[in-house]
């Protein structure tokens, strides 16, 4: 969808977030003591300040908190694309910036349900989102 996906600089904190999608799931830092989801990935829990945080899979489901359709071709050759702030169902305020795929910008509404779909480039699992499909 984008002609170029810039790569994150990997370190021990964010490694699993960006490369751990081989099981089809997104792994985010989670506090084993108080249950808080910690994002961006950091080695301490920002709620209880404990060090017992490690990556765990999230459901990959959330809602569009807000979004924009970007027209300016910051990346040469890009067509207008949707940048969205998705709030994951796991926790109020657990926001990810992402792209919405499988939907036209005019059809996006705040609060709509979305689900994770990875775009994989050179070993990086970029978490994108699409409108939530009916579950079987």
């Amino acid at each position: 969808m984008l002609p170029l996906r810039l790569r994150p600089f990997l370190d021990p904190d964010n490694q699993e977030y960006w490369t751990g999608g081989g099981d089809g799931r997104l792994h985010m830092h989670h506090c084993g003591d108080c249950g808080w989801w910690v994002h961006p990935a950091a080695p301490r829990c920002r709620r209880c300040r404990g060090a017992n945080v490690s990556p765990e899979a999230v459901s990959g489901r959330g809602r569009v908190a807000t979004f924009t359709v970007n027209h300016k071709a910051w990346i040469p050759g890009s067509e207008p694309y949707i940048i969205a702030l998705v709030e994951l169902n796991e926790q109020a305020g657990l926001f990810l910036t992402t792209n919405l795929v499988g939907i036209d910008g005019d059809d996006v509404i705040l609060g709509m349900e979305v689900e994770l779909v990875f775009e994989i480039v050179d070993g990086i699992y970029y978490p994108l989102f699409r409108p939530r499909q009916e579950s079987p």
Binding site: L2, R7, F67, T68, N70, K72, L96, L110
Partner: protein
Amino acid sequence: MTTRIGERLSYISGIGQSVVGRRTGLSEMELTMQSVQAAIADAGLQPDDIDGLSTYPGGGRGTASGGFGGPGPNDVIDALGLSVDWYSGGLDGAAQLQAVVNACMAIATGLSRHVLVYRTVTESSAQGSGGRAGIGSSGMGRGVPGPFQYLVPFGAMSAVDWLAYSAQYHFHHFGLTRESLGQIAMSNRRHAALNPKALLREPMTLDDYLGARMIAEPLCLYDCDLPCDGSTALVVSHTDTASDAAHVPVQIHAVGTAVRGRPSWDQWEDLATFPGRDPAAHLWERADLTPADVDVAQLYDGFSMITVLWLEALGFCPTGGAASFLEGGSRIALDGELPLNTSGGQLSAGRLHGFGLIHEAVLQLRGDGGDRQVGGRPEVAVVANGAGSTVGCMLLTRGLA
């Protein structure tokens, strides 16, 4: 219990500004010398009176690397042959205003009595004819570190994308419209027409605004500020020198520097507000004044939406109230209840990046605003800088309290 408000030991004694333009062909040092020498002279001082120096964002970000920052402190001290007891330069803190806050702290501690403060940009020369680049687009060959790694891989390259989040949220929940944002762009342009140094002075109609090309919905080209070359400088002095002041002292009544929520472009908890909420609250906690006392406002307009967020954060209207506050544009006009961005702001006068707004606040409080002077001898001005992960504000008064 009382807290000593140490910034009130400081006042702005001098201001100066270089040539401002697009691709001026002038070096970042030449622009900086123009502004700092003008500011020192305006304060009625000599270079040898300057004993402190402060800048944003420090060295290493000059024309060769995008023009976001001019020469660093060492280079300016050396170029001007200064002898200082204290100096500072840096990017982190209460946005561009942190350079002023640092000057106040140096004065309050006794490290300095006359601090030269400057901010230089050469973004127009640096971008040449290549167009504007996003923040995250350079210098990331080994991968994007820090918080930007969660933004730029998704093409969220520029603050315009991050501010579009706020705009879309306000459109959806609070009835903000493109017409509301257009009032800021048009009002700034009307003020710019009265400012000989402003870069865009032709009238802008609502049709012009609505017809501009989209950048990041709902923000269009005229919601974005205009990169330029220019340098702005101040002299911040100890109030015990005020009897020698060349102009009416402009006192720093209070600063707002707090971070209480998450200092982030996309992790701020409350999408109805923005991180400027914290320094705004901090400002009023430190002030003896209220929003109703403010006579003129210079609120950061890197993007028009930022001005909306500051209007609400500072309490000029309630959260979500900007749509009605801006309706028709009369409240923010020169003769309105809150004259706003009276130089034309960054949208029309040029992206002097925070410091143009400080300069304009001082001109207005001195009564030196020329054709764009706000009537009724304004006594209180508020200046706000920044958005997202870098925010700060300050309250200025004409004369010493």
